[in-house]
């Protein structure tokens, strides 16, 4: 197992290198480098100044050299300076933005699992029943609903319409991270938590809804497949009660593939959160990538994308290891 893990980590390195090269090339090839952005609209600046600035930032070097310099620095944990946020890019992304994204995505995924796994099992056990049809239909709809539409719609519903109808009794804020006038230092813990929950409620629900749809369909399909296997039929035939067969025999094997789904979903959540974070003005990492692209602040983009790619590779390794831990039939040596 240790040898296998070690070998897999070794295999990851060239892949990571290749990914970083692709990400760097695509980002660095963007027309309009940081100096152009800086000098735009500045009539005082001469072409000689621009050339000097570009040389100072190393922007006159060929791209493969720039990649090499960037890589060496990145390996030291230095992702350069972010001009738009006036901070080291890596520090800014990981300290200011990543916690916000985690605050949104981790609970969303947990809630989705807690809801979708039991519902998926229920749906599979009552295949072709009315609840099964309703749940399947729901997951199709939730899966096909654009977040950038559902988001604004629930914003209007909970921030405008419901407060009007209920006379302000039910009201949620239209996006943002928390009340700007609430000072965490003076307000009590519960006040801060309650405020946070109010701001989290909508983005969290919208994000979780989509995950519920995906996990529900996946869980239902797995469970149906396992329920039709011979060993389940044998267990029933020898007289074991349905509940025991389902919850002790079938469920264990049906849950295992969820590991793969999660390992694929977690990195996707970070990149995919761009849309949710945009709709709800939530200053997370996805939003940082977007702002970095718009402001040509590529150091932020590179730091975030490298992090997401690393995360993807780590989670796919973890998934394989978890498989071996959960399923005794799988042995890596």
């Amino acid at each position: 197992m240790a040898t296998y893990t070690f070998r897999r980590i070794l295999q990851m390195l060239p892949l990571l290198l290749l990914i970083s090269l692709i990400i760097y090339a695509l980002t660095a090839l963007q027309p309009g480098d940081p100096v152009d952005q800086l000098t735009l609209g500045n009539s005082q600046i001469t072409p000689a100044d621009i050339a000097r600035l570009k040389a100072a930032y190393g922007l006159d070097q060929p791209i493969y050299l720039r990649y090499f310099y960037w890589l060496v620095q990145a390996l030291h944990g230095d992702f350069g300076w972010s001009r738009s946020f006036s901070a080291p890019a890596a520090l800014y992304v990981f300290q200011e933005r990543l916690p916000n994204t985690l605050l949104l995505t981790v609970p969303a995924l947990l809630i989705a699992l807690l809801i979708a796994v039991p519902l998926g099992i229920y749906s599979a056990m009552r295949q072709y029943s009315l609840p099964d049809y309703v749940l399947t239909f729901f997951s199709f709809v939730a899966f096909s609903t654009p977040v950038f539409w559902l988001g604004p719609m629930v914003l209007w519903l909970f921030a405008i319409w419901l407060p009007q109808v209920t006379g302000g009794a039910v009201s949620l804020p239209p996006g943002g991270l928390g009340s700007p006038d609430l000072d965490p230092a003076t307000a009590g813990f519960w006040a801060v938590l309650g405020d946070k929950l109010k701001y989290l409620a909508l983005p969290l629900s919208v994000l979780a809804l989509r995950e519920i749809a995906v996990i529900l369909r996946f869980m239902r399909a797995n469970m149906l497949e396992v329920l039709n296997l011979d060993y389940v039929r044998t267990a029933r035939a020898k007289g074991l009660p349905v509940s025991k067969v389902v919850y002790k025999h079938a469920l264990r094997n049906a849950v295992i593939p969820i590991i793969t789904l999660l390992s694929l979903a977690i990195p996707g959540l970070f990149g995919g959160a761009i849309i949710t974070e945009t709709v709800f003005s939530w200053p997370g990492m996805g939003r940082a990538i977007f702002e970095g692209l718009v402001n040509k602040d590529f150091n932020v983009v590179l730091a975030s994308l490298t992090f997401i790619s690393l995360l993807t590779l780590i989670f796919s390794l973890l998934a394989d290891l978890a498989y071996a831990a959960v399923d005794p039939r799988i042995r890596y040596d």
Partner: protein, 310 residues
């Protein structure tokens, strides 16, 4: 001796594989319903100039954010343009992007998957690693990076291309970028099917009769992959429409003045609190269209899967 009464004979009806699939599909009521929806959408897109009540780009300086009325069923947007007309014209773009991306990514995916599955060995290893690489890339952020790159590029080739295509160039860019990132699912499916097929006896028989690799692949393998491919293509259309809308929503997709359902939503979160009807209708159209293709794909999977008995 009296003749025995004739036993009632249940006539044996022989059906071709296609007829069986059709019969199965017709039983999936939701899929049938959404097939009709898709046909209506296509009719709407084709006849846009005839049915669109107003010019989709005609601005009305006195009618900003006009709420829905008898004259303007879905209201007017931030420039006083008729939202219904923009939705009708936008359906052309959404369907065009959806079908083009699905076709292209199915083509790439089938070629890659067949090559990997048919030859196995080194080509399988190389293609599989390439698929893994593509799947480890953060898709949505990179879609933004590449569309931004192509949209803002000042290289002579890109400039000439844009001059030739005018306003449509952003459509071509979006189709190309989405196809580039959309083929891996098909490739994986096709590869695993091809791996199963290549060791079947009929393949050996064809080879013994003198068929060479290209013929084996095109005549004997690909036709058997078609059920998988058709289902995947249908689901891809919905996926591509959704992703195009997401890109256009973020401002990195198809650029105005071309109206698409996605870029009609681009200022949604700014206007929704005051003018909720502006984003409501374009988003609803995306939902209905994507849902329709997902249900159609589901129905076709049920119909084409030889393991499902009905």
């Amino acid at each position: 001796m009296t003749a025995l009464p004739a036993l009632p004979v249940k006539p044996v009806v022989s059906r071709s594989a296609g007829a069986v699939a059709l019969r199965r599909f017709r039983r999936h009521r939701l899929a049938m319903f959404f097939l009709i929806v898709i046909v209506l959408l296509i009719v709407m897109a084709v006849s846009a100039p005839l049915i669109s009540p107003y010019d989709p780009n005609a601005q009305d300086l006195s009618g900003f954010y006009e709420p829905p009325s008898a004259q303007h069923l879905f209201g007017k947007d931030d420039l006083g343009r008729d939202i219904l007309s923009r939705i009708i014209w936008g359906s052309r773009i959404s369907l065009l992007v959806g079908f083009s991306v699905a076709t292209l990514s199915i083509l790439i995916g089938t070629v890659m998957g067949t090559l990997a599955g048919f030859f196995g060995g080194r080509s399988d290893y190389l293609i599989s690693r390439f698929i893994e690489l593509m799947l480890s890339l953060p898709t949505l952020p990179l879609l933004l990076v590449i569309s931004g790159l192509l949209a803002a590029s000042d290289s002579p080739a890109v400039m000439a291309f844009k001059a030739a295509l005018g306003a449509g160039s952003s459509i071509v860019i979006v189709v190309a970028v989405l196809s580039l990132f959309g083929w891996m699912g098909t490739a994986r499916l096709v590869r695993s099917e091809a791996l199963k097929l290549r060791n079947l006896e009929y393949m050996d028989a064809a080879r013994a009769l003198g068929a060479r690799n290209p013929r084996l692949m095109l005549r004997h393998m690909v036709p058997n992959l078609l059920p998988v491919i058709i289902v995947q293509a249908t689901l891809d259309v919905g996926g591509a429409i959704l992703t195009e809308a997401a890109l256009s929503f973020l401002g990195f997709g198809i650029q105005p003045p071309v109206s698409t359902w996605g870029n009609m939503l681009s200022n949604a979160q700014e206007v929704v609190l005051q003018y909720p009807w502006i984003p409501f209708f374009p988003g609803l159209m995306i939902l209905i269209t994507v849902l329709a293709f997902n249900f159609l794909g589901d129905g076709m999977r049920d119909a084409l899967d030889p393991r499902s008995k009905l």
